[in-house]
Symmetry: C2
Subunit: 214 residues, 2 copies
């Protein structure tokens, strides 16, 4: 499949490399066409990897991952262009975090969320919030944790969620995918990330996740 990964940070690189390893064609999108990190990544990953602007990557893609910083996601998707997102599944992994102080805060929360903002701004994109509740190494290798843990999906488009659930299971190895409901449920998973930061300190590691037990 042709996949666009928006964002050249560690999340975009990790997801991009995983998708390449599965045999997909991946274009990494950045604000600048010649982003040095994206160029280095594409060179390392070989012929199925490419790079370009956000618009190049979105136009190229059948499926899109938003791996930009949450505080920059709406602008990045604006550069990608509504016409290049239309009808496509957009997996939103971003969190609207303000990292400027030691204790993270969210730039949108409680009565709204980044997932909702993206779906409202791009009503013809099929937005599925997912993978934002864990470090990127856990995103693509959940089996390395000591036990089965949970990944969550939120979105208004049931068919799009079904596709994303298959991707999470079959490509990334998630054994338990929890469908929380419509895109409004993005609020909960985004607000959890403030707790995630405190858990990260407690575990002294990025490699952890939560499991729902009944």
């Amino acid at each position: 499949m042709r996949i666009g990964v928006l964002g050249s940070g560690v999340v975009g690189q990790t997801i991009g490399s995983k998708l390449i390893s599965l045999g997909h064609e991946v274009m990494m999108g950045s604000r600048d066409a010649a982003n040095p990190t994206a160029i280095t990544w594409a060179k390392k990953e070989g012929q199925r990897a490419s790079f370009g602007t956000f618009a190049n990557a979105a136009a190229f893609a059948e499926l899109i991952f938003n791996c930009t910083l949450g505080s920059a996601s709406l602008a990045a998707l604006g550069h990608a262009g509504a016409e290049n997102l239309e009808g496509k599944i957009l997996i939103d992994t971003a969190n609207p975090l303000d990292y400027s102080s030691e204790i993270w805060t969210l730039t949108v929360s409680n009565t709204d969320s980044l997932g909702e903002q993206i779906q409202r701004a791009f009503p013809r994109a099929r937005v599925v919030k997912s993978l934002n509740t864990m470090n990127c190494n856990v995103m693509v290798e959940p089996g390395k944790l000591a036990e089965r843990t949970d990944v969550f999906v939120s979105g208004n488009d049931t068919e799009a969620k079904a596709v994303v659930i298959s991707i999470l299971r079959d490509w990334f190895g998630w054994k338990s995918v929890v469908d929380l409901g419509n895109i409004v449920t993005s609020r909960g998973v985004e607000m959890y990330v403030v707790m995630w930061q405190t858990l990260r300190r407690w575990t002294s590691s990025h490699r952890f996740n939560i499991k729902v037990v009944t």
Copy 2:
């Protein structure tokens, strides 16, 4: 031990009854001295149970549980009186929830929390945020879930947290208690409650909790 339980709702009743069953003396505090629910509860629980105002319960107590609605907690603790809270451990189980719409929101979050507000308002109380991340039945019977799950504590007073950790383990049966750090970490556990609501829908039950897996 003489314990004050502030709040006569289902959380206060469940914790109060658990404490009675363990042999403690419990006074349930309410806004009104003759709260009908508190009277009924005390009658059912027998001679070690009593009821009174928030101030009566706080004055009586060596240890206090805040089980009031989060939106009413600061007022309730004001009625309890700073002099009756001074030097005492105050276990804050409340969440600052606005239940007025289908999707819960928080009345304070992100840059502040109820736990912090209480500690600031009553600087000589030894506030420990805990037990706010699960239903009250799970609070007092964590062993009924299929697996070991986690309960969290947040607070500035290390000795008070050590006491609360012992209470959670020895009285309530928690096998894993996670010390998240100072009272600022109340933000994360309170914000998680928005996610808890979505998980409650998914599980179709109040009886669940999360486990941190590394």
